[in-house]
């Protein structure tokens, strides 16, 4: 019964490609220049998803501790690489992003497993790792962008503090705090409208698969808690580990030149 509800025929999938065509037409007509990027990203998504579907089926069937761990490590690695790539010309190493994700995701997953909210089985661990890493990655990205922006906008103020003898931490002022806030804000905003505007992925998926809404909502509440803690931890770590890199050994601001 469950499979019937969520089944999509190949024919409907092909027809739904019309939606991609709509976005291509808009891009063409409005001269947005997004056609190439749209096609590439759609093809990439299709290929990635097909591969992942087979890998997931394999991992779930084998149900091996090491294989599951490897799968989670791959997600962590991909998220770190992506986080690094998005930060154009910014002094954040891959390592900072990696540690921030590991911290945010690791602590959150550990709490979930030890509290018994999720079972340490691949079909729970792997998708939840994906969700945690994704939100944390977006938060870290926002932290980096806002640090960049604020250090550029406030370079005079930072310089004036340094001139008065402030060390880099003191000279940074409110920048760290605001960067963390920027990182967490979208998560908090999206939580505010949960159920009002968005019926989020986990919950919708479970309901569509025929699970009782009351049960589905329990999962959603758990997911909400989970993304809150992972974005908070990752944002704080990323901001504190990165601000110092905007200063050189002479305690002077060294702004990255955009690539």
């Amino acid at each position: 019964m469950i499979n019937k509800t969520v089944e999509i025929s190949n024919w409907s999938l092909v027809l739904s490609f019309a939606m991609v065509v709509i976005s291509l037409l808009i891009s063409y007509q409005q001269k947005l220049g997004l056609e190439k990027e749209t096609i590439i990203s759609v093809v990439r998504a299709i290929v990635q998803l097909i591969i992942v579907a087979y890998i997931l089926r394999f991992v779930f069937r084998v149900d091996d501790f090491w294989l599951t761990s490897a799968m989670m490590a791959i997600i962590l690695w991909n998220a770190s690489r992506n986080g690094e790539k998005r930060a154009d010309g910014v002094p954040h190493s891959l390592r900072t992003t990696f540690v921030a994700l590991l911290l945010g995701g690791g602590v959150t997953l550990a709490i979930l497993v030890f509290s018994g909210a999720i079972k340490p089985v691949p079909w729970q661990l792997v998708p939840i790792t994906g969700m945690v890493m994704n939100t944390a990655m977006i938060a870290i990205d926002l932290v980096y962008r806002s640090l960049d922006q604020m250090f550029v906008d406030q370079q005079e103020q930072v310089f004036e503090r340094l001139a008065l003898g402030a060390d880099p931490k003191l000279a940074t002022g409110d920048i760290i705090k605001n960067a963390v806030k920027f990182g967490m804000q979208p998560t908090i905003d999206s939580i505010k409208t949960l159920g009002l505007v968005s019926l989020p992925g986990t919950m919708s998926g479970l309901i569509m698969a025929g699970v009782e809404p009351v049960l589905a909502i329990k999962y959603q509440i758990m997911v909400t808690f989970m993304i809150l803690s992972s974005t908070a931890l990752s944002s704080v770590y990323a901001a504190y580990a990165t601000y110092r890199k905007y200063f050189n050994k002479n305690w002077l601001l060294e702004l990255p030149s955009p690539k």
């Binding site: 310089f159 004036e160 001139a163």
Partner: protein, 208 residues
Amino acid sequence: MLLEVKNLSVDPILAGINLTVNQDDWLTITGPSGGGKSTLLRALARLQDGVRGQIDLAGKSASDYDLSTYRQQVSYAVQSASLFGHTVRNNLDLPFQVRQVPVNLDRQLELLEKVDLPSDYLDKPITDLSGGQRQRVGLLRNLVFPPQVLLLDEITTGLDAQTKEVVWRLVKMSQTDHHLAIISVTHDSQEIAAANRLLTVKEGHLDD
């Protein structure tokens, strides 16, 4: 000798600068724009990268001081201070935070009074201040704890005659009270005329 500079260079802006300053000295530096005056002051305050040569403060090499202590003692007042934080108080608190000592409210109010700003200005948002008020608050930050050397980078540029008067009165008073050595960079003809020791920075060199 309080501050002694030997063969100071900043590629490609300054070369072979020699300079000595004593307590109670007032040195005026002038010269064409882009000649390296600000760079010289920043180099003296250790606020400049790529500085070569020797700077001694009170008989000790500048590099033997930790950066914070040195910058507290050789205090650089910026041209057109932009001020930081939200209020005047944030700016006058920083020197206390730098030294990790409790904020002395009386000292802050005393300083505000010296530059003709009423005490309720302490909680005034910096966005409500005029250019002249900003510049005065900017300079007060350097004087909350009087330094040994005060470096003034065209601090009265763009100020009206009355505000200039207030600023110079404060600087002179601080020098008399605390025996500061002052190095002032300026374009102002009156200040140049009043200088008792005048140097010119031109194309990266210092001339008497």
